[in-house]
Symmetry: C2
Subunit: 413 residues, 2 copies
């Protein structure tokens, strides 16, 4: 049996234990949702304050030059590139993940004009599928979508000479299953298709070699494990070899070869900046910048090691607890196949997650019955997980699903 | 002759003089570029600090509900709607102006499927023209563009049964010329086309009646006269009558009827939220929210009155000064035809603007030879304009264009 004392001992041996000081965490809360919104880095408030008071308030419009606002999409992009195995000049921070998916899909479709199928995954985060629909609908020809897990359970069966692009998440948002980036990219290429990876749930916690994998395009968000702040801008990567020919229809002035010459016709700039469109939200970009300073100090291999130890520990704690017997592990049991999250399915998952939040343990619920716990290795302690499972067990013992306060209310707009 | 004493007297009589206290302006600077980046409202730093420290840092993911983050696009949109004459439920704050132009164009093209021409204006801010190209290119049929000022000087000559949509700025970014919104919209409608207005240079300083004008779609930015902060998110308006049928291809999860049900297929939500796509940058949205609190106290008719008085004053000061004889007024002489800016053309406009900035008077330059001064009526004083013209005259007397420091360097990426 793993005890709290044993968990505390793991914390004392943890080489990353000191990292917790780089984050401001509320008292009395165990935060297991860093894969929805990362925690606040300690240096961020002052950075944003300075951007507001000095860069905006005092320097005003001059800050586009003097404070380097204009170069932020590329500068931050290169620093994210460093975390995902992308050489400089191939990544920019801008817009939202959904919009960057649209750009990548259009670029891929234009590079494979005679192919009219997009392959994705039924279990994708829904916006990926919705953007596939949007991109197909605006592509001016009859495209169709094939979904892994719905139209076939084996990617090989879905790939043929009609496939223009494959869009997949390298870590599944719900189960945490990891796709083998190199193998899948090779499969796509062997079928003549281009590969687009969604890195939303992996950037910052999973070491990867985007360039070496042969990936064509990638997108991801900065507000989950990258701790950039609520809704901080996303990123997009395009492999160097596509820069000359890649076109995307969100052709705003930030992607123009001479943005201040005010030419009448669009002329895409060389390089990755052609994936930019309009002016970015600088204050939110500053959150990304501050957080990336924390990542400069990190060894991503050590982060991955701790991430795997945390998920192992959490699974063991849940499975050893007599009150948690009804929970079924959804995430892979093999730590190498698993992201930095652990999910369990449980009939009453929704009320249990709600009750846990009320008792200070913040996790997440994903329809239909998945309790999802994101274990950010930057600021979580092994003892936190011990305490979290105790709270979970108490909610199960209390059969909180009989309490109307935790009844499920679907947000419908 | 207008003297400084006379200018000071105008400030003493100005009913909006007290508004200056609502903004934090740097010492020793006269800011005539509020139409590029608005100044920092006094309440904004604390609002953003609180969003960072409390909403993000302490409440973490819970703030999507408890702090109302999820509703911000609509709530802020309705408040902007109030400034542009749009009833609630038709405006959302999201993404960038360029991206919102793309959405509006696609929606308009889909509503007029048998028409394959977009009319815009040669003198438009370039991103508008670039987005027309991008939207036409992704519309799946051979569209073409007709430009007022290039393909004809009279809008009537450009309108016929082939025109799907007309996209114009109601205030020209360079000259400040005001289009008559009602008249132009009526002309577009009489030709069977839909009308899209770009309000970037008018929202917040020009009273307008968007609903009453019959406008179909509108977009605008929040970081100019709306003082939302650098790169703060843009807005998009769609008239209620189009909500049922309007579709736009950036169909992300925020525009889905049940965003948290994680359905596999896109189903647009009812109402204006179908123009949303992905997660918005909350810290930058907070800047918009704070600034709109300042606007709540304002009478836009009084703002327009002062705006016209300021531009009249500035033109008179320049034209009476013996050193400024070489400058030619680009903006309309009739204040009713003019936005809240004054532009002059001058061969050496670029070095003069650079030198003025170095001497504390921040204006703007727009190619090829336009010196542009945005006169934000919220925080500018008549005496400021007197002082600004003195600095301009000194730069002209000094023939600063002989100084290499002010030589023009085109930003080319």
């Amino acid at each position: 049996m793993i005890t709290r004392a044993h968990s505390e001992a793991l914390d004392r041996q943890d080489p990353l234990a000191g990292l917790r000081d780089e984050f401001l965490l509320p008292e009395g809360v165990i935060y297991l949702d860093g894969n929805s919104l990362g925690a606040l880095p300690t240096i961020t408030p002052e950075r944003i304050r300075s951007a507001v008071d000095k860069e905006w308030g005092e320097q005003l419009i001059r800050s586009w030059g003097t404070a380097g606002w204009f170069e932020m999409p590329e500068k931050l992009g290169d620093r994210i590139g460093n975390l995902i195995g992308a050489a400089p000049g191939q990544t920019v921070v801008c817009d939202t993940t959904s919009i960057n998916i649209y750009k990548a899909l259009h670029a891929a479709m234009a590079l494979r004009p005679n192919r009219k199928v997009i392959v994705s995954e039924a279990a994708s985060f829904p916006t990926d599928l919705y953007m596939v629909e949007g991109a197909m609908g605006s592509a001016g020809a009859a495209y169709s979508r094939r979904l892994l897990g719905a139209d076939g359970d084996d990617l090989a069966d879905l790939l043929d000479g009609d496939v223009a692009a494959v869009l997949l998440s390298n870590i599944d948002y719900r189960s945490g299953v990891v796709h083998d980036m190199e193998r899948v990219t090779r499969m796509a290429h062997e079928a003549g298709a281009l590969m687009i990876w969604d890195l939303c749930h992996s950037a910052g916690v999973l070491p990867m070699q985007l360039d070496a994998s042969g990936t064509d395009f990638a997108v991801g968000c900065t507000y989950k494990y990258l701790n950039g702040g609520p809704g901080s801008p996303a990123f997009i990567y395009a492999a160097q070899r596509h820069h000359e020919d890649a076109r995307q229809p969100l052709s705003g002035w930030w992607g123009h070869a001479a943005p201040f010459a005010f030419e009448r016709d669009f002329r895409p700039t060389a390089g990755i900046r052609r994936f930019l469109c309009g002016t970015q939200p600088i204050l939110s970009m500053k959150g990304v910048e501050a957080s990336l300073d924390v990542f400069e100090k990190l060894d991503l291999q050590a982060v991955r090691r701790k991430s795997q130890e945390l998920t192992e520990h959490f699974i063991a704690l849940v499975e050893q607890h007599p009150s948690c017997g009804a929970l079924e592990l959804v995430s892979p049991r093999d730590a190498d196949q698993r992201g930095s999250q652990v999910s369990f399915s449980f009939e009453h998952g929704y009320p249990v997650v709600r009750a846990m939040i009320e008792r200070g343990v913040i996790g997440d619920f994903r329809a239909p019955d998945v309790m999802r716990f994101g274990l950010a290795p930057f600021y979580l302690r092994f003892a936190d997980l011990y305490d979290a499972v105790e709270v979970m067990a108490a909610c199960l013992d209390d059969q909180v699903w009989h309490d109307d306060r935790y009844a499920r209310r679907e947000t419908v707009t």
